[in-house]
């Protein structure tokens, strides 16, 4: 059945308390006897617009302390990003996937989580990982190719980030199913890209989560691109949030560069899961401002103008306008916070440098609970090879 999108996006002012919806409606029908199926409305949420104007009726009115903490996390994410890129260019870091411009999407999605909840991210998630408690130097180790970087910080239930596109979404769904079986109130947030949404495994995860009413929050980060493939070529519909409807998953489309919108949407999704109502799909509409990874050259496939246009939608800038207008932080504070974050990162870099020692003797570890004798034999042979080469 063909559908038509009628977006009731009101232009300009932010006075309206109306949340906008993307209607999924059937076309005018020439044969009125034919019935249509109601697929439900999909909410399209923005609270803080590009100019930093807030829709007051929707403002979650977080405390000053909370707002400051969120702001700092977003700045830290950006500074880390820039530093990692520099380190890569200087030969100190491996292939790295920057998240420039996606800071609100990152912090917002994990904001409602507590330590016992689960977070199962894809690779472009260091912002959210830092919020969850992963350390700066740990993430540096990870991206620089050292095993220690994979160590999951004590006290949180996170999974290693996934590099194989979409493959983590099914295990994340299983986590949600298990939480439900055990009667726990934990929820699972799992994120993936617009590209990943094309994977069969992701569709299968939607179905399982929905059938078993698993408390899984699917955060689909629509950043416009999957390496060189624009979202328009990835899917024939513009709103990925529509994907939920066919699986019976309530869905919301949110301005992923609006931290308040992201927090409200994620909170509502988490509440839904905790109430035993099952999964939720959050499409965060954002933009990959930087290269896909340091191995990529976007000049080959996308126009600079497009990137420029998104600069105006910067999630940090608009949040700073909001904070300034509320009298919570001023320009001097912003400068100070930037410097503090930078200093913290440089300190972490020193720690990283001290820890950055390859440990070739570890490559057989953690494969089995108990190493089978035949593997032990291979390990011994490998150790002899290292001995011969004088490798520690």
């Amino acid at each position: 059945m063909p559908t038509k999108t009628a977006s009731k996006r009101s232009s300009g002012t932010k006075q309206s308390a109306q949340r906008r919806v993307t209607e999924v409606v059937a076309p005018e029908n020439e044969r009125p006897m034919r019935k249509t199926i109601d697929l439900g409305d999909i909410e399209d949420l923005q609270i803080l617009n590009e100019e930093g104007e807030v829709d007051e009726a929707l403002d979650p009115n977080l405390s000053e302390d909370e707002l400051k903490k969120i702001h700092r996390a977003m700045v830290m994410t950006r500074k880390f990003d820039i530093r990692m890129l520099a380190m890569q260019r200087q030969g100190e870091m491996g292939t790295f996937a920057p998240g420039l411009g996606q800071e609100a999407t990152q912090i917002g999605q994990v904001y409602p989580l507590n330590a016992k909840d689960w977070f199962s991210p894809s690779y472009r998630s260091f912002g959210a990982q830092l919020w969850r408690g992963w350390t700066l130097d740990g993430l540096m180790l990870l991206w620089a190719g050292y095993y220690e970087g994979f160590e999951i910080p004590e006290g949180i239930n996170d999974t290693p980030f996934s590099i194989v596109i979409g493959s983590h979404v099914l295990p994340a769904t299983g986590l949600g199913m298990a939480a439900k079986i055990r009667g726990d109130k934990s929820v699972v947030v799992t994120n993936f890209g617009d590209g990943a949404s094309s994977q069969g495994a992701v569709a299968e995860a939607f179905n399982f989560a929905s059938v078993y009413k698993a408390p899984v929050i699917f955060v689909l980060e629509n950043n416009g691109w999957a390496i060189s493939i624009p979202a328009e070529k990835q899917a024939a519909v513009r709103e990925f949030a529509r994907r939920g409807a066919g699986f019976g998953i309530p869905s919301i489309r949110v301005d992923g560069n609006d931290i308040l919108g992201m927090i409200v949407a994620s909170q509502q999704a988490a509440d839904h899961g905790r109430a035993g109502k099952g999964p939720y799909l959050v499409e965060a509409v954002t933009y990959r401002m930087s290269v896909h990874t340091t191995a990529d050259d976007p000049k080959v496939y996308r126009k600079e103008d497009e990137v420029k246009a998104w600069e105006a939608k910067c999630p940090i800038r608009r949040f700073e306008i909001y904070l300034r207008n509320k009298g919570i932080l001023d320009d001097a504070d912003f400068e100070r916070i930037g410097k503090e974050c930078e200093a913290e990162i440089l300190e972490a870099r020193e720690k990283f440098r001290a820890r950055a020692k390859a440990k070739p003797r570890e490559v057989f570890d953690y494969l089995y609970t108990e190493m089978p004798p035949e593997l032990k034999e291979q390990q011994e042979e490998y150790f002899r090879k290292l001995d011969r080469k004088g490798v520690e």
Binding site: G94, T95, Y123, A144, G145, Y146, Y147, I163, V164, I165, G166, S167, G195, A196, S198, Q199, G200, A201, A226, I227, S228, I229, K233, Q234, A235, A295, D296, V300, Y301, A358, K359, P360, E362, V363, F364, L367, E374, L375, Q378, Q379, Y382, K385, L386, R388, K389, V391
Partner: protein, 327 residues
């Protein structure tokens, strides 16, 4: 003859096959506008258009599954899987349809398609980007699997794979992609699938390798001759399945000794199969047990340590000396 890298040679083979046969079409992630993440398909979209060079959504299972359908219709799809690690997403379609459709349709639908995928380690890639799983494809009835080792044979072998009436897994050693150049003739050049090549003749020891392992093997063979007086016959396997048992058996019948160098994990590997065949067909000629220098049965190490995992010339030389120690 122009000098080319393996990337350029593969591009040339694709270009010439597309030029001469309009049934040949390419599909894959980032292969069109971007020209492939390794640039193997560069400029082909411009030349042949969107119907024949398809930038697909991000779904390997869909890529291989739909390629099978296109092959059934009579096209000759050459899908690219961006890294061989992601062929796992397509395993269902490879095993159930690509490998079996000809048989299940009693010959009605031959699947003339080539699944290209860069494999192997050595380029400091992130996790899941360095595996060598050629044994999976050799193990699947109905598939062929070939692996070139240099620009010139890559070009010829890719043409042969595209011209083949059956499904071929074409594994590209990405460590070799830009490692060196070779003369590659302008004229289309092909080679027989199922034939190995004696890359260096010798009388003391047969060494067998393929893909990226040909380089450390060749280097070791040179050193063994120069420094240890051991005359190695080096065989470039080229075709994993079908395998050129005859060339291997002939060589080992002559030398009486054999060393296999492979990057893949050891258990149930291609090396295991070579040893089994030699056991069946050349046992009476063997002077020493056949040895393998192999990857280990572990997950491919993170890249700070990958160089220790990968077979290197020194390790090959040590192993060769072991084999030679048998009287």
């Amino acid at each position: 003859m122009p000098q080319m890298t393996m990337v350029q040679a593969l591009n040339l083979a694709l270009d010439q096959s597309m030029e001469s046969d309009d049934r040949v079409c390419l599909m894959g992630e980032d292969i069109g506008v971007n020209g492939g993440v390794f640039r193997v398909t560069q400029n082909l979209l411009k030349k042949y258009g969107e119907n024949r060079v398809m930038d697909t959504p991000l779904a390997e299972c869909s890529i291989i599954g739909t390629a099978v359908g296109m092959a059934m219709y009579g096209l000759k799809p050459v899908p690219e899987i961006q890294f061989s690690g992601f062929t796992m997403q397509a395993f269902d379609q490879i095993e159930q349809n690509m490998a079996r459709m000809r048989n299940r349709s009693r010959g009605r639908y031959p699947i003339s398609m080539v699944m290209r995928a860069p494999y192997g380690g050595g380029i400091r890639a992130v996790e899941h980007h360095s595996e060598s799983r050629e044994a999976y494809w050799a193990h699947t009835p109905g598939l062929k699997c070939v692996i070139p080792s240099g620009p010139r044979n890559a070009r010829a072998l890719l043409k042969a794979a595209i011209d083949d009436p059956d499904p071929v897994v074409f594994y590209e050693p990405k460590a070799v992609y830009r490692a060196f150049k070779e003369d590659v003739p302008d004229e289309p050049e092909s080679m027989e699938i199922g034939k190995a090549k004696v890359a260096r003749e010798g009388n003391d020891l047969t060494m067998i390798a393929w893909g990226a392992m040909m380089r450390p093997a060749a280097e070791a063979a040179d050193d063994l001759a120069d420094l240890h007086g051991i005359d190695v016959e080096l065989i470039d396997l080229l075709s994993i399945k079908p395998m050129d048992t005859e060339t291997i058996v002939n060589s080992v019948s002559k030398t009486g000794r054999c060393l296999i160098v492979q990057e893949a994990p050891q258990t149930c590997s291609v090396a295991s199969e070579i040893i089994a065949r030699l056991n069946e067909k050349a046992f009476e000629y063997l002077i020493a047990p056949i040895k393998r220098v192999s990857g280990y049965d572990i997950i491919f190490p993170y890249y700070q340590t990958e160089q220790h995992y990968l077979p290197d010339p020194d390790t090959v030389i040590e192993a060769a000396k072991d084999v030679m120690a048998w009287e």
